[in-house]
């Protein structure tokens, strides 16, 4: 049940109870008072009419005398009947007199009762006529008076009570609604802000209204969000600094390396004529200069991916042709299944980097035979590189594309820059494709590259 519904129900319940108590009690009291007074009036009037007939004429009373008595007490609106020893006379039907009333009157008291008669409510008042000086005369007089107008007043009262109660309920519901809004809006704001925060919008805050408990929650939320934003910002700044540092270092290294790399060919050609140790030293410097160049180039490549400045130079190519060139140029000995006619729009030099890294990795860490398989699946091209080695250990598998991740910490650095697979992975991603690593059921690592064919451009 929502908070809103609960509030509405609580207000409704409260207002119903209150309205019932106030209007109901008021109605009952007013009704009783009105009915009581009307009945009292009728009784007083009837008895006073009866008393005006005293003293009674001498006995015996015949039908005509009774008729006269009934005529005297009936009044303008009513009708009456007078009974004496089984003889009754008058305009009022005796059938409306209940036995209950008769019993009451015959015991000598003044009785009255409301009855339904002729489609309306009537009051029957009955009394015995007394003989002067005490004692009853044995004559019973009943008067039938319309009571409809009083009942109408009572009904009106009831209607009023219902109306006031209903209006109160509606008013209560409106107020409940307003109150619920007042409470629920800050709650909703808080929920939205928390959601945005969860989505990574660290600038999400909630407006603080008033000084109530909800305002306190909002203030706490804002403080927490601020501190979170601060810490995340700090971390991001630190990470950006670290990345920028790597980029700066790589770029600074590049210029002296460019000078050194430029002369490696001269040195290569001349080392043959250098005597013994000097020649060995020169060859070492040459070789390591080129290794260093490769490492720095890879580092710069990685920083370009990180900064988002790496771009695709797209070309329409025959994929089999590109892969075959990669394998041939690097002298890789693999079993390749490269069907003709797989045309794709991609960056051939980046595909070359991916395939060269995957195959180079398979040949270095796996065992021959290495197979390269190309096929089309839906709107993607798939290249699978599989080796027949022991496969990747379970603890290596999740980190295989991590930078500088060495499966075996004792392994020398001569196995490549340690960035090859990370760069391959980034290149696949840059194409909107994927690169995944797994172990084949029969043993051996399996790398699967999936790139969109991207012909529609």
């Amino acid at each position: 049940m929502t908070l809103r519904l609960r509030l509405l129900l609580a207000f409704a319940f409260l207002s119903i109870v209150t309205a019932a108590a106030v209007s109901g009690a008021g109605y009952v009291r007013a009704r009783d008072a009105i009915v009581q007074r009307a009945q009292d009036n009728a009784v007083i009037e009837t008895t006073s009419r009866v008393e005006q007939l005293y003293p009674l004429p001498a006995r015996p009373l015949d039908h005509a005398a009774l008729e006269r008595i009934a005529g005297k007490v009936s009044g303008r609106e009513g009708s009456a009947v007078a009974e004496y020893q089984g003889v009754s006379a008058g305009s009022m039907p005796s059938s409306v007199i209940t036995t209950e009333l008769r019993g009451l009157v015959s015991s000598g008291r003044v009785g009255w009762q409301r009855v339904e008669y002729n489609g309306g409510v009537w009051l029957v008042v009955g009394t015995q006529m007394r003989i002067t000086g005490g004692g009853t005369s044995g004559i019973e007089v009943y008067v039938l008076r319309p009571f409809t107008s009083e009942i109408e007043v009572v009904h009106e009262l009831a209607l009023n009570a219902w109306l006031i109660g209903g209006a109160g309920l509606v008013l209560a519901l409106i107020m409940a609604f307003v109150a619920a809004r007042g409470v629920l809006r800050p709650v909703r704001d808080l929920r939205m802000a928390a959601f945005r925060l969860g989505q990574g919008d660290l600038a999400a805050r909630v407006p603080v209204r008033g000084r109530d408990e909800l305002a306190a929650v909002a203030t706490t939320f804002n403080t927490t969000a601020s501190s979170l934003e601060h810490h995340v910002g700090e971390l991001q700044r630190m990470e950006a600094d670290a990345r920028r540092f790597v980029a700066d270092v790589s770029h600074e290294l590049r210029t002296p390396l460019a000078a050194m790399t430029a002369v490696t060919d001269v040195l290569d050609a001349e080392t043959a004529s250098l005597p013994g140790v000097a020649g060995q030293a020169a060859r070492l410097v040459n070789r390591e200069t080129l290794n260093l160049t490769r490492l720095v180039n890879d580092l710069i490549e990685v920083t370009r991916f990180d900064s988002g400045t790496a771009a695709l130079a797209l070309d329409d190519v025959d994929v089999a042709e590109v892969v075959a060139r990669t394998l041939k140029m690097r002298g890789f000995e693999v079993t390749a299944s490269l069907p003709d006619g797989v045309r794709a729009r991609l960056d051939p030099r980046r595909l070359d980097v991916i395939v060269a890294n995957l195959v180079g990795n398979a040949l270095r860490h796996g065992a021959p035979p290495v197979t390269v398989t190309l096929y089309v699946e839906g709107s993607s091209l798939v290249i699978m590189v599989a080796d027949s080695g022991p496969g990747l250990p379970d603890k290596v598998l999740p980190h295989v594309f991590a930078r500088f991740y060495k499966a075996d910490s004792a392994r020398g650095r001569s196995e490549g820059s340690g960035l090859g697979l990370a760069i391959a992975w980034e290149n696949a991603r840059l194409h909107g494709g994927t690169l995944t690593a797994a172990n084949r059921p029969g043993g051996g690592a399996l790398f699967t590259l999936k790139l969109p064919l991207g012909g529609e451009r």
């Binding site: 390396l257 460019a258 329409d316």
Partner: protein, 226 residues
């Protein structure tokens, strides 16, 4: 051996490249700034310019544009490693090819040889071929449009000769990189696209709706059909 004008602001790189190119038999004039390079261009008449893009004062792009405006001298630019924005901007400024630093001298040497290579696609026919308003003289390496000679940079000329050697046949960018830029390995297709753009602006009536050098989506380029 060709004469190389090297414009590079870093002293060590300049010295290293001069050393290596001289060792391979080139005559090298090495200067530090674009202004010096443009000045020297008048007096020494080099065969090829090797141009660093990051220069103090007049930058490499501007130097490239000025050289291109005044003639057909081949230009090879030196760029930061895979700096894609620089590569595209440099090619648009009119460079024929580029080499990313750090590079071994033999890579630069190969690129120099490629841009200086005379067209190998020359057909035995002596008569100039006519295609619409265009006349291509394969022997004299002269291209005229409406009777007036068109000034083409070496790679632009070679690209036109290559494409027009078999009109109507589609050639892929990688094929063109191999035959025009002499890149036996996978090349940068942007070289072809930039060169096609420059060539179109010189020989087409409306470069946006090319007649001679047409793009075949998904495959490459084709000369004609007219």
């Amino acid at each position: 051996m060709p004469r190389v004008l090297l414009i590079e602001d870093d002293e060590a790189v300049r010295e290293g490249l001069s050393l290596a190119l001289t060792y391979q038999g080139h005559t090298v004039d090495a200067v530090r700034t674009g202004e010096e390079g443009l000045e020297l261009l008048m007096s020494v008449a080099p065969d090829v310019v090797v141009l660093d893009l990051m220069l103090p004062g007049v930058d490499g792009f501007e130097v490239c544009r000025r050289i291109r405006a005044s003639g057909d001298l081949p230009i090879i630019m030196l760029t930061a490693r895979n700096d894609d924005i620089d590569v595209v901007a440099g090619l648009e400024a009119g460079a024929d090819d580029y080499v990313a630093k750090p590079a071994q001298a033999r890579v630069l040497e190969a690129r120099i040889r490629a841009v200086l290579r005379r067209s190998s696609a020359a057909a035995p026919e002596v008569v100039a071929e006519r295609y619409g308003d265009l006349t291509i003289d394969r022997e004299g390496l002269v291209v005229t449009r409406l009777g007036r000679p068109v000034s083409l940079a070496p790679t632009e000329l070679r690209l036109l000769l290559e494409l027009s050697s078999s009109p109507g046949r589609v050639m892929s960018r990688q094929q063109l990189l191999e035959s025009v830029w002499d890149q036996g390995y996978l090349g940068d297709s942007r070289l072809v696209d930039a060169c096609v753009q420059r060539l179109r602006s010189k020989i087409e009536d409306d470069p946006a709706a090319p007649l001679y050098i047409q793009t075949v989506r998904g495959f490459g380029y084709r000369f004609g059909p007219l």
